[in-house]
């Protein structure tokens, strides 16, 4: 089974304080001073795919769009068994360009890299578009299962997929090919490779593909277009009560507002 996992390297936005959210030219936010990480939903997608490959033979490719910052992460993924690791050199502003990104992934598959399964997180931490897997499924003409929590092989050309739906959980045995959009799956942190496999991964290189101009590509019309970014402020009164011990603090909270907002039981 050929599995393509698409992932994105994003800044850890929770490390930014309120005063760091400054909008610069062209609606850019400077996040260069915080650590980067694999987009959390994509991290789950990578780990769930590794679990699939633990139990059944699978050729796992990972594809990302980004600059050299992605390299340490791709090396880790090689050490975990993703081969090849592919990076499309990014130029331009891709944050809000899921249409073009989906087209790029579809083009990669069509260019001699056939896949049975494409897995990725449901949305990225910065763009928050939540569109790429859905648009990719439309472009490929494949079914898409969203809210995916786990999947396992279920015989030749079949996958058993557990997903969250609005009414609960759904377990489907589905024929491939499929696009899976991964949601919140508990206990799915990406495993850590051994030192030995990490050293072996040093011998391989990322396949770096031709840069894509993205939204600046001639003939491509970006829609929707970003016009403005403003910080969301959620400040409230924030009265901090004082007390000598938990009992006194609880009493102060209770008397200072909580009691008045309790509904009669």
């Amino acid at each position: 089974m050929n599995v393509l996992v698409c992932c994105k390297i994003v800044p850890d936005l929770d490390r930014l304080s309120e005063s760091d959210w400054l909008v610069q030219d062209h609606g850019q936010i400077d996040t260069g001073f915080v650590r980067t990480m694999v987009n959390p939903y994509d991290e789950t997608a990578l780990e769930l795919t590794l679990r699939l490959a633990d139990a059944a033979p699978a050729r796992m490719t990972t594809l990302t769009l980004g600059d050299g910052q992605a390299e340490p992460f791709l090396k880790t993924l090689r050490a975990l068994g993703f081969d090849p690791t592919v990076r499309i050199e990014a130029r331009g502003d891709w944050r809000f360009c899921p249409d073009r990104l989906a087209a790029l992934i579809a083009a990669y598959i069509a260019a001699g890299h056939p896949q049975d399964l494409v897995v990725m997180g449901r949305q990225s931490a910065d763009g928050d578009n939540g569109k790429t897997p859905l648009l990719l499924a439309e472009l490929l003409g494949w079914p898409c299962i969203t809210g995916c929590l786990g999947f396992e092989a279920a015989g030749a050309g079949r996958l058993k997929v557990t997903s969250r739906v609005d009414a609960g959980l759904q377990v489907q045995v589905a024929r491939l090919p499929l696009v899976l959009a991964v949601g919140n799956a508990a206990g799915s942190a990406l495993r850590v490779p051994t030192l030995k496999s990490r050293m072996l991964a040093n011998r391989q290189r990322t396949e770096v593909l031709e840069p894509d101009p993205g939204p600046d590509r001639p003939g491509f019309r970006q829609d929707p277009v970003l016009e403005e970014l403003t910080p969301i402020r959620r400040r409230r009164a924030g009265r901090i009560v004082t007390g000598a011990d938990p009992c006194a603090l609880a009493r102060a909270l209770y008397e200072d507002g909580l009691k008045q907002h309790l509904e009669p039981r």
Partner: protein, 314 residues
């Protein structure tokens, strides 16, 4: 501009969808006219109030996105709508994006507000995991929007029902690629969405045992228990307890936040609370600036005392 509201009656949150979508079409300056609701239903529950004067009822065996998209695509030429509105749940987001693509229009999910500007639509939505609000211009119709809940008030008593334009029966076998499908209903999530009193735990809970104790306390004081994403990702609490951008967004009168630092993604889930009480041992935690009243200390110790006061009605 004619508009269509799509409601998924196969989901457990139909009341929330109805409330939020009704709120949208009643906002001042709403650009739609002559609206029609397409109500997907499985024929089990009574049909809810719909936010438009007319409706198309579509009975389906279950919510199957590819089949629903085919139905919406088929109805599109008859309804000639320039604007499609969906709820902001999993199905609403999926349908908005895929239908927008199929109809050659533009889609956006998580839309907080929108206005017509000439031929285009200006929409605002949260980005950067709830830290920023972006304004987008959508140029190419039809516009397919999944509308973010803003915690609207409950619907008034139902008025006259809609004019039913069509009553379709589209129950069919699952598509060929689905070999089997089993659904496990989960009413707990809907309970959290509609809760009037929420106790939400964060990583300050420290471990699974203390988190479980917080869930017990919630039950003892009559609150729905919620948890931040790190807590449910650690499996200290079930996933259906998740509060935040990717989970429930309730609008309680009272929300107690115990041990959550106040990340933007979490805050987006509780920002509609009328009154927020926060407990955190870190006096620098952002949550203490985003609550109405807060205390610095061990969240479980204070919560135990607070629960005693609530139970005793001190």
């Amino acid at each position: 501009m004619k508009y269509v509201v799509v409601m998924n009656g196969c989901a457990g949150d139909l009341a929330t969808q109805a409330r939020d979508l009704d709120d949208v079409v009643r906002r001042p300056g709403f650009p739609g006219q002559d609206g029609t609701t397409i109500l997907l239903h499985a024929g089990e529950a009574p049909l809810p109030r719909v936010p438009t004067p007319s409706a198309v009822l579509v009975r389906v065996a279950r919510y199957q996105p590819e089949q629903v998209l085919d139905i919406l695509e088929e109805l599109a030429p008859r309804l000639e709508a320039g604007l499609y509105l969906f709820g902001d749940d999993l199905a609403g987001r999926e349908l908005a994006v895929r239908l927008g693509h199929r109809l050659g229009g533009t889609s956006l999910a998580g839309v907080r507000a929108f206005e017509l500007d000439g031929e285009s639509l200006r929409c605002r939505k949260a980005v950067y995991s709830g830290h920023m609000e972006a304004t987008f211009r959508l140029g190419r119709g039809p516009f397919c929007l999944a509308i973010a809940s803003r915690g609207a008030a409950p619907l008034p008593a139902p008025g006259p029902g809609p004019v039913v334009l069509m009553d379709l029966d589209r129950r069919q076998a699952p598509p060929a690629w689905v070999e089997s499908c089993e659904c496990i209903a989960d009413p707990a999530e809907a309970g959290l969405k509609e809760a009037s009193f929420v106790l939400a735990a964060g990583m300050g809970a420290q471990d699974r045992v203390r988190t479980a104790r917080m869930a017990e306390i919630a039950q003892e004081i009559g609150a729905e228990f919620g948890a931040s994403r790190p807590v449910v990702m650690n499996a200290w609490a079930p996933m259906d307890r998740l509060v935040g951008v990717s989970g429930a967004i309730p609008r309680p009168g009272l929300c107690i936040v115990a041990g959550a630092s106040g990340s933007a993604a979490f805050m987006a889930g509780i920002e509609h609370s009328r009154f927020i009480v926060a407990i955190n041992k870190d006096e620098q935690a952002p949550i203490l600036g985003c609550c109405d009243v807060g205390a610095v200390g061990d969240c479980l110790e204070i919560l135990e005392e607070l629960a005693r006061l609530i139970r005793e009605g001190a």
